[in-house]
């Protein structure tokens, strides 16, 4: 490998394992995440210029950290008048002076990533930008990649990220893991952001969108990281389990021809056993804390589905009990929707429809494809078992509901599936 390649591959390796840690460490005191990112970007650029000529340093992280800090001080000096710069320069000097432990070739940068994630998900930060913010600051995703994954324009996403980082700095949002009393509540926001990133990545079932494909894997990484940094938090393990169960089914979601396969028809042989085992282990560990929560319940539902399909016996009543608990905890309309389907499995399609009818007024479901698909499915069930006169009405209503669903679906494979179901009526 020539000098350039060696420099680049080392820099890439450092970026992969330490980018987030470096950003978090540099930004921890100043709360200036944007400045930390810029300083680090300059440091990486300097590395790619310097290392081919002078050799890759024995401790590349230390080199990058020192270079980034120097650039930070330089840029602060340039930006401020002498009088106003005093506190900033003092802080920067402290940063330069405080050396993290070095153990041989491995630099031990104190891991402030959790503090950074809590800052990104602070209540003062707009909820819709929290997941993108974590992806950028902790994982180093660029705005264009994040924008494409979250269906925003790169310019708009870039602006929102800048605004959020400015907010952290100007409003004084601390980079700090909250005290015990607030930890559970604030952790929920961190977990929600990680889950949002996973869900976005999950949209790419066919694995054809590079931005999305990475997201699910990165969200899993973050989920694992949180369990390592907060090993006493059962909801963190619950979320990890939930994502692992979903990820395990990746290969079963589409046929080889790219057609949509609903959960009930997936081939368990195509599920990833290692992921499922890891999920079960995480869920088991969470349950030892005896502190149920939203993510643990969702993971328990996944576990019940998986075990039901593998054994051939789905315990529908147990599923309904879990949905009841989850609904009581979350009040989410999506949970209510899935609960209605569980009701149908236990008490029949008519009862399920009645449960769905209770949700008819919820504006949040009006544009939610699965709501209309569920409605259509239950109406089709009712029509299949009904007397002639009811049958026609139910069938017509089912057709209308399928049409609503088709009109709301983004994924062509799912659309085709819904169209097939409608044609079968």
């Amino acid at each position: 490998m020539n000098d350039n390649d060696h420099a680049r591959s080392t820099a890439d390796a450092v970026a992969r394992r330490s980018y987030g840690k470096l950003v978090a460490f540099i930004a921890a005191r100043s709360r200036d995440v944007a400045a930390a990112e810029d300083a680090l970007a300059d440091a990486f650029a300097a590395a790619l210029a310097d290392w081919p000529a002078h050799g890759v340093p024995r401790n590349p992280e230390a080199w990058l950290l020192t270079t980034a800090r120097r650039k930070l001080i330089d840029s602060q000096r340039r930006r401020q008048t002498a009088k106003a710069a005093a506190p900033e320069l003092e802080r920067a000097a402290e940063l330069l002076a405080s050396a993290p432990d070095e153990e041989g070739d491995e630099m031990k940068i104190p891991d402030q990533r959790l503090a950074l994630m809590f800052a990104c998900t602070h209540p003062a930060i707009d909820a819709s930008v929290r997941a993108p913010l974590i992806l950028q600051t902790v994982l180093g995703f660029d705005a264009a990649m994040i924008a494409s994954a979250f269906l925003a324009s790169p310019a708009a996403m870039g602006q929102r990220l800048v605004r959020a980082k400015t907010k952290i700095k100007q409003a004084g949002i601390p980079l700090r893991v909250p005290e015990h009393a607030e930890l559970a509540e604030r952790l929920d926001a961190v977990l929600a952001a990680i889950y949002a990133a996973f869900a976005e990545g999950w949209q790419d079932a066919a694995g054809t969108e590079p931005a999305r494909r990475e997201l699910a894997a990165e969200a899993l990484y973050l989920g694992r990281l949180v369990t390592e940094l907060l090993p006493e938090e059962p909801e963190a393990f619950g979320l990890l389990a939930l994502m692992l169960y979903a990820d395990a089914r990746r290969r079963a979601r589409r046929t080889r021809g790219g057609e949509y396969v609903p959960l009930a028809e997936q081939d368990p042989e195509l599920w990833d056993d290692d992921s499922i085992d890891a999920a079960e282990a995480a869920l088991r560990h969470a349950s030892t804390f005896d502190a149920p929560g939203r993510y643990q319940l969702e993971a328990a539902l996944q576990s019940a589905h998986v075990n039901g399909r593998r054994s051939g016996r789905v315990d529908s009543e147990a599923l309904l009990v879990l949905y009841d608990a989850l609904l009581a905890l979350s009040g989410s309309p999506v949970v209510a929707l899935n609960r209605a389907l569980a009701v149908a499995r236990v008490r029949g399609a008519a009862a399920g429809l009645a449960a769905l009818d209770e949700l008819a007024g919820d504006a949040r479901l009006a544009d939610y494809q699965p709501y209309w698909a569920a409605r259509a499915e239950l109406l089709a069930s009712v029509s299949a078992s009904a007397e002639k006169c009811l049958d026609v009405d139910a069938r017509a209503a089912a057709r209308t509901a399928y049409e609503r669903a088709i009109g709301l679906e983004r994924d062509p494979a799912v659309r085709r599936f819904l169209q097939r179901r409608r044609a079968e009526l």
Partner: protein, 117 residues
Amino acid sequence: MQYMFLVYANEKAFQAIPKAQGEQAMGAYIAYTESLRKAGVLKSSDRLRPTADSTTVRVENGKSQVLDGPYADTKEQLGGFYIVDVPDLDAALSWAARCPGASHGAVEVRPLWTTGT
């Protein structure tokens, strides 16, 4: 870091409550202000007179426009302010939540503009 707490509440509702309750509410504010002072975080604070006593000035094309009343007609009105000096936003939010105004209306927490940024 310095923040201003802008305390918003419905004036009319406040003016309509019976005298005893009004005194109790003022007592709560006095106690709150005192606790800010004791904690060493209070820079300044004042209660504002009702918006009926407000006058708004705009200068357009060099001409002064003077209008009776507040800047905007809102459901809740600015009734007072605090300026505090605390380490970070979490500290500011924690104090703001204790302000009686937060329970009757809302408290906006806005950082002051510091020079050199």
